[in-house]
Symmetry: C2
Amino acid sequence: MRDPKIKKYNKDFDYSYAFGIYPTLDLLKLKPEKVLKVLIKQEAFGSDGVEEILEICKAKNIKYEIDDHLIEKLAIKENTYTVGIFEKYQTELTKDTNHVVLVEPRNMGNMGTIIRTMVGFGIKDLAIVRPAADIFDPLIVRSAMGAFFSINFKYYDSFQEYFAEFPEQTNYMFMLKGAKKLEEVELKQPFSLVFGNESTGLPYDFSEKGISVFIPHNNEIDSLNLSVAVGIALYKSSI
Amino acid sequence: MRDPKIKKYNKDFDYSYAFGIYPTLDLLKLKPEKVLKVLIKQEAFGSDGVEEILEICKAKNIKYEIDDHLIEKLAIKENTYTVGIFEKYQTELTKDTNHVVLVEPRNMGNMGTIIRTMVGFGIKDLAIVRPAADIFDPLIVRSAMGAFFSINFKYYDSFQEYFAEFPEQTNYMFMLKGAKKLEEVELKQPFSLVFGNESTGLPYDFSEKGISVFIPHNNEIDSLNLSVAVGIALYKSSI
């Protein structure tokens, strides 16, 4: 019998969904203890990815079900062949390592892209200052493209709360009116790259809480897209 | 009487829509000769942006109409207060200047973000190799956030066709298996930054058609998001 609780995602659920074969595989490999169940479409059987999913499920004693109808009901995109249903979890950030801090991020696509970029440049700790998007929204899980399950993240009610927990970090505040050009900054480890949200950026008083930095661009645009700005900062931090 | 042709965007139309006050203003300022009509919501009257729109319409003898219902029918997002309806146009790329070349781009959000980033870093010529997304799709116009009307763009059926028109460009081919790290490359002007599409990247034989370049990242992700990769390359080209 179908579990009656499985329906379209809502942020109040205590579980979420990883849609698609590769996100499901990443979930199974990186957070197997959190997987509640895997759904598979009949037609997907035989593909390499699904064979690997089945092997892991059997080896780790994880439930799986064939249910095309339920997948179609849940999925946010066509051609979703598997869904990993997983329990939400909390993580702690790592001390003495580099972080990204997003202050009041709202755009889910940006958050997923930022997670993917962070992982690619070797930064795995993400602090999020509320109010903010729900990181477990399947849109974020999906746009992180598998990187989602590799990161640590933690929500804070204010930047002060984050700073109190990690007083050793050197905070680089990215803002249009930053004092230093990114290319002139030597990042001092452990650092935190701190970004404001998509529409308003960081409040100006953040410049007093760290080293304020800007990415020079002309004034024909108001600002860079948030995930592009974070990507440039992460690239710079990696070279 | 309402113009019966005005309905939800379709790529076969010979006109498109700029949704929102700021995109409408950019359209009016940068491509006034292409504007067919401006639609305004009743409730938006009195705001600074709408006052400016009205001034330009009057000064340039551009038609405007109040039509809340039609805006709601056309818009892709809630809270759209104005729509600029404009005739599609063709542009030529500029010789002896730097270009971005996108080979078979499909994701509209990425294309809009790339246009915005290009303009911010002072590059205004975009070559697009087909098959590709329709650049006039209102989603692209919108995600370019006003930068859309500042650029020149031209579609090509192949990279060869582009290269035949601009043989003087030094082509930098961004690919995972590129020969040189981005940070080790001295870009020779006029250059073209060439990127493949979101899922497959550039075909490997592109490495023979220019200087192949990669942005180093670890193998925990398959690739960077396209708009992030282009953003990093544009940043590097600007410093």
